[in-house]
C-alpha cells in the first residue's frame, strides 16, 4: 500500500537525511522505525505526510506517486493518513471534544456522525468525562490520548506516529503503545518511529533500523539492536 522507492533526501550544505531508502508497507501492517536521532526516521514520516519531498526517488500510496497530488487532492490524502507527534500538536484554544471533532469537521463529515464518533473515540482512549477540558488542563499522557482519538475518528489507512511516547513516563508509554496496537487491530497500518528499546522489544512486530539515512536491517518480529 505504501512504497518507498530509492528515496533520497538531501538538505543544503550536503547534509544527507536519507540515502536510497526502499521498503514496502502492507495494509494493516505494524512497522517500527528505529534509529538514533538524525538517522532519518522523522524524514520518512514527514514524507509520508507529504510535508517533506524526496530529492530523488518516489513515495507511492495505493499505487499513486504522492508528489503528483494537486493542491485540491492533498487534503483528501491527508484524511487517509493520520499522525501523532511527540509534542501532541493539539489546538490549544479548543477543548478535548473540539480537538477530536476538528479532524472530522475539516473532512466535511456531518454533525450527526461527529456527535456519535467523537464520544466513542474518547471512550476508546479513556477520556470520557474530560470532553470540556482544554489541553493545558491535561497531563502529557492525556494529551497524547486526545491526539490518538483525533487519529481514530479519521478512520485512517495509515497512522504515522513520530516518537509518540517520547515525552511520557513508562506507565503512559504502555497506554499509548496499547492504543497503537488497538488502532492497528481496527485495520490501520501503523508506522511508529521510536528509540524506546522496551517498546520495540515488547511489540514483536516488524522493525526497520536506520543508520545515517540508510536502512541497515528490516526484520519481521525484530528487536532493538542499536547499542
Amino acid at each position: 500500500m505504501l512504497i518507498f522507492q530509492e528515496v533520497s533526501k538531501e538538505y543544503p550544505n550536503d547534509v544527507t537525511a536519507l540515502k536510497d531508502v526502499s521498503f514496502r508497507i502492507k495494509e494493516g501492517e505494524f512497522v517500527s522505525l528505529v534509529g538514533r536521532s538524525g538517522a532519518g526516521k522523522s524524514t520518512i514520516l514527514k514524507m509520508i505526510l507529504r510535508e517533506a519531498h524526496p530529492t530523488s526517488g518516489s513515495v507511492f500510496f495505493q499505487g499513486v506517486d504522492i508528489s503528483t497530488f494537486r493542491h485540491s487532492e492533498l487534503p483528501l490524502y491527508r484524511r487517509k493518513v493520520a499522525s501523532v507527534f511527540q509534542d501532541f500538536k493539539l489546538l490549544s484554544s479548543k477543548t478535548v471534544f473540539e480537538n477530536v471533532a476538528f479532524a472530522m469537521e475539516a473532512a466535511g463529515q456531518p454533525n450527526k456522525e461527529i456527535k456519535e464518533d467523537v464520544p466513542q473515540a474518547l471512550e476508546v482512549v479513556g477520556l470520557t468525562g474530560k470532553e470540556k477540558r482544554f489541553p493545558h488542563e491535561l497531563s502529557g499522557g492525556e494529551k497524547q490520548r486526545v491526539a490518538m482519538a483525533r487519529a481514530l475518528v479519521q478512520r485512517p489507512e495509515v497512522l504515522a506516529a513520530d516518537e509518540p511516547t517520547g515525552n511520557l513516563d513508562p506507565i503512559h508509554t504502555w497506554e499509548i503503545t496499547d492504543l497503537l496496537l488497538k488502532i492497528n487491530k481496527l485495520g490501520t497500518a501503523v508506522i511508529l518511529a521510536t528509540h524506546d528499546e522496551a517498546v520495540i522489544n515488547a511489540l514483536k512486530k516488524r522493525v526497520i533500523t536506520l543508520h545515517d539515512g540508510k536502512i541497515v536491517s528490516d526484520e519481521e518480529k525484530g528487536k532493538y539492536k542499536i547499542k
Binding site: 485540491s72 487534503p75 484524511r79 493539539l90 490549544s92 484554544s93 475539516a106 466535511g108
Partner: protein
C-alpha cells in the same frame, strides 16, 4: 452549508477565546482608523478654510463717469458668458452712492460735502468672482484688450494681485503637503495594521499547521482568520465612528468660535454615509486582506 456554519463558528471562537489578543489588535486598528478619519476631516477643513479665503477675493472694475449703463451691462453680459467667471455683480452709480451713504452715515461732514456736489461723484463698478484665483490674470488681460477698455478707469486687480497670488500658492502647497501627508499616514496605517494582524496570526501558525495535517483544505483553514480579521476591522470602525460623531457633536461649538469656516459636526452630519462607508470599508478591507496575506505563509504545509 455545514462548512460555512463551521467556519463562522471557528471565526467566533478565534475572536472570543483570544480576547486579549483581539482587544489589542482592535485597539491598534482603532488608532489606525482614527488617523484615517482625522485625515478626511483635516482635508475637509483645509479646503473649507482655503475656499473661504478664495471666496473673499474678488476683482472690481471701475468705469469712467462717461460710461453709459448700457455699455456696462454689455461688459457684464460678456463676462457672464465666460466659463471661468463664477459671479458678476453690477453696482450702478446710484447703488454705489447708497452703499457709501450707509457706510458713512455717522460722518456728517462727509455726507454734507457729498450733498454740495451736484452730480454723483462715485463710479459704477462690476464685481467679479472667479472659480480659481489663478484665473484672474487671464480675465484682466481679456478686459484690457476688449472694446470696453475705453470705459474702464481702473481694475483693482493689481492691488489684490499680491493677496491672490499668496492664497493661490498657499492653497497649492497645502494641497500638495496634504496629499503627501495622506499618503505617508495611510501607508503607515496599513503597515501597522498588517503587522498587528500578522502577530495575531503568528500565534495561530501551529493551529493552521495542525489543521492542514488533519486534512483541512486551505479554504477551511484560512477563512476563519480572514473573517476574524474582518470582524476586528468592523468593530474598530464602529468604535471610531462613535468617537468621531460623539466628539464632533460635543466639541463643535468651541471649534467654531476659533475657526468660523470649520464645522466638523455640519460636515459629518451632511456626509455621514460617505464618512461611515470609508471608515468601515477601510477597516474591513485592511482587516480581511491583512489576515489573508498573513495566513498565506503558514498554509504551505
Amino acid at each position: 452549508m455545514t462548512n460555512i456554519t463551521r467556519i463562522l463558528k471557528n471565526s467566533w471562537k478565534n475572536f472570543s477565546r483570544n480576547l486579549w489578543l483581539s482587544i489589542a489588535t482592535m485597539f491598534m486598528m482603532f488608532v489606525a482608523l482614527a488617523v484615517v478619519g482625522s485625515l478626511i476631516l483635516f482635508d475637509e477643513s483645509l479646503s473649507a478654510f482655503v475656499s473661504g479665503l478664495q471666496e473673499k477675493v474678488d476683482v472690481s472694475i471701475y468705469f469712467t463717469q462717461e460710461a453709459e449703463e448700457e455699455d456696462i451691462l454689455t461688459v457684464k453680459d460678456t463676462l457672464e458668458e465666460r466659463g471661468d467667471v463664477k459671479s458678476v455683480a453690477y453696482i450702478s452709480k446710484d447703488d454705489a452712492l447708497e452703499i457709501f451713504t450707509e457706510r458713512h452715515e455717522k460722518n456728517e461732514i462727509l455726507l454734507e460735502s457729498l450733498d454740495e456736489l451736484e452730480s454723483n461723484p462715485l463710479q459704477a463698478s462690476i464685481n467679479i468672482k472667479v472659480h480659481q484665483p489663478e484665473q484672474f490674470a487671464g480675465l484682466v488681460e481679456f478686459l484690457e484688450n476688449s472694446t470696453a477698455a475705453e470705459y474702464i478707469e481702473t481694475i483693482n486687480f493689481q492691488e489684490n494681485e499680491r493677496v491672490i497670488n499668496t492664497i493661490t500658492s498657499i492653497s497649492a502647497s497645502v494641497n500638495r503637503a496634504g496629499l503627501l501627508f495622506t499618503i505617508i499616514l495611510t501607508s503607515l496605517v496599513i503597515l501597522v495594521t498588517y503587522n498587528t494582524i500578522r502577530l495575531a496570526i503568528y500565534t495561530a501558525r501551529e493551529e493552521i499547521y495542525i489543521m492542514k495535517l488533519v486534512g483541512a483544505s486551505n479554504w477551511f483553514a484560512r477563512t476563519p482568520f480572514v473573517i476574524t480579521g474582518g470582524l476586528y476591522g468592523l468593530i474598530s470602525a464602529l468604535l471610531v465612528l462613535a468617537f468621531f460623531f460623539g466628539g464632533a457633536y460635543f466639541m463643535d461649538s468651541q471649534v467654531s468660535l476659533v475657526f468660523a469656516d470649520i464645522d466638523f459636526w455640519g460636515y459629518l452630519a451632511q456626509n455621514n454615509v460617505y464618512f461611515s462607508l470609508i471608515i468601515i470599508g477601510t477597516g474591513v478591507f485592511i482587516g480581511t486582506s491583512s489576515s489573508w496575506l498573513a495566513a498565506k505563509r503558514y498554509l504551505k504545509v
